[in-house]
């Protein structure tokens, strides 16, 4: 009786605190909103501490300190200390650029549990081009220091057409740097990545080759280094169970205090996301319109409504449905049963044609100038 399976009910377990949209890098696949430059009113130290306390009281235990680049917050150590006192497991999600030994030590003393850094590519020229900053050597130094000071380290690499041919080199670099975990994150096409999709999406053949290499390393490195492989959902036949179900597990707080059921949800029109400046975390989670909007199954249309798999994938990703069909209530078009599956095929075809075009097309880099130029006055 798939139709009678209940929707999971739960309190937030994961709090993603996007401390700032400021970042010295310009990655063209950044998941921050395109109009980030118009949301500059960051929460204060005291406001973040209140949010951490309120979410912890509801049972949140994993805390992601993210951004932008969280290292640009001068009160980062103070926030980490508060998180540790509350019993969070705190994850610093940084690019590693600007992470000095002094800062690593101060964060350790404050009680930080783990540091994730990213590289854009396993070689200097491409890395620096994609990051929009001369950052490669500095990130490698930061990685060595993180391990020297006893942190578990995740190396995150966003995978796309400009670096997917370097899968083997990426994994060899991860070994060299002593990463405990490698996250091979095939680009998800939201935010800036959606803008650059035709220039970033690899072909199916490229995916298959790269995935086989990653799987080989997974076996080889078993027990030494864990490899998380984030699948590229455009090449799947069923959508992902986005955020483990809307409003069941994850809570994201944007730099300006906007509370989001997923870190991309800011783009959904008319969702009316609440702000923690005006509401407690408990009110946000239990009573806000936005967090209840896609809970349960009543909002669904066909083919989701009568589908036995709705209890597994919850209709897929709302943001992807909106980006590809213009309707956030639609079935995620990644699903083979979606009447809009053609939109995904078109995107794949568009990217394939771009690979055959002569000359490399320019990427649109994530920076404040481009953000302001691309923001429409009515966007929020």
């Amino acid at each position: 009786m798939a139709g009678s399976a209940p929707y999971p009910k739960g309190n937030p377990r994961w709090l993603l605190a996007e401390l700032t949209y400021a970042c010295p890098l310009q990655c063209p696949y950044c998941s921050n909103p395109i109009d980030y430059a118009s949301h500059s009113e960051e929460l204060s130290t005291e406001e973040w501490q209140r949010v951490f306390s309120e979410a912890r009281a509801m049972g949140a235990v994993q805390l992601g300190l993210s951004g932008g680049e969280p290292l640009t917050r001068r009160d980062l150590e103070e926030l980490v200390r508060h998180a540790r006192e509350l019993g969070y497991y705190s994850n610093l999600i940084s690019s590693g650029y600007g992470l000095t030994e002094a800062r690593i030590l101060k964060l350790k003393e404050a009680g930080l549990d783990h540091i994730q850094i990213s590289i854009q590519a396993p070689e200097k020229t491409l890395n620096n081009y994609l990051a929009g900053a001369d950052s490669y050597e500095q990130k490698k130094t930061a990685a060595h220091l993180i391990k020297r000071h006893g942190y578990p380290m995740v190396l995150c690499v966003v995978i796309h057409r400009r670096n997917i041919h370097l899968m083997r080199e990426i994994l060899e670099l991860a070994i060299e740097l002593g990463a405990d975990y490698v996250e091979l994150a095939n680009t998800q096409y939201y935010g800036w990545a959606h803008l650059n999709r035709a220039q970033l999406m690899p072909t199916r053949e490229q995916f298959k080759t790269a995935e086989a290499i990653a799987q080989g390393y997974k076996q080889k490195l078993k027990g030494r280094m864990k490899i998380y492989y984030v699948v590229p959902d455009y090449y799947e036949d069923r959508p992902k169970a986005c955020m483990n179900g809307w409003g069941t597990t994850f809570l994201t707080i944007a730099p300006d205090g906007l509370a989001l059921p997923c870190h991309e949800a800011r783009m959904l029109p008319g969702l009316n996301c609440p702000n923690v400046r005006e509401m407690s975390v408990r009110e946000v989670w239990e009573h806000s319109e936005a967090f209840n909007r896609f809970r349960h199954f009543e909002w669904m249309r066909e083919p989701c409504r009568s589908c036995p798999e709705k209890v597994k994938d919850y209709g897929g990703c709302r943001c992807q449905a909106y980006l590809l069909t213009g309707d956030m209530n639609a079935t995620d078009p990644v699903c083979g049963l979606s009447p809009h599956r053609g939109k995904v095929r078109e995107a794949i075809e568009e990217a394939r044609l771009a690979t055959e075009a002569t000359g490399v097309q320019p990427l649109i880099f994530r920076n404040s100038r481009n953000s302001r130029a691309l923001s429409t006055p009515e966007s929020h």
Binding site: V61, Q62, Y89, P152, Y181
Partner: protein, 95 residues
């Protein structure tokens, strides 16, 4: 059942993981980068004894005394093997 590791060595909880009681869930959990495993009561009892001093036999002895029973070795070994494989604990070389 024979251990796949050198059971003369003490077992220690991994410095890259954290074991803690979660009031909201009323259970022990293991925390690690961006992940969490919820533990049942027996697993938590065993892992709490992986203190860098006790060996497998020491843990068996301690729990059999605590729960006034015997014959726990196979169940404990099974959990220890899987905890080693998951990297939650490790053997500590002496000297």
């Amino acid at each position: 059942m024979d251990p796949s590791f050198d059971s003369r060595l003490p077992l220690a909880f991994s410095p890259l993981h954290r074991l803690q009681w979660e009031e909201a869930q009323q259970k022990h959990v293991i925390l690690y980068p961006e992940g969490m495993v919820e533990l049942n009561l027996p697993a938590a009892e065993i892992l709490k004894l992986c203190d860098g001093a006790r060996t497998l036999d020491g843990i068996v002895e301690e729990l059999e005394r605590k729960f006034e029973t015997s014959g726990l070795r196979d169940d404990i070994l099974e959990l220890v093997e899987s905890a080693l494989e998951n990297g939650w604990i490790r053997t500590v070389s002496q000297g």
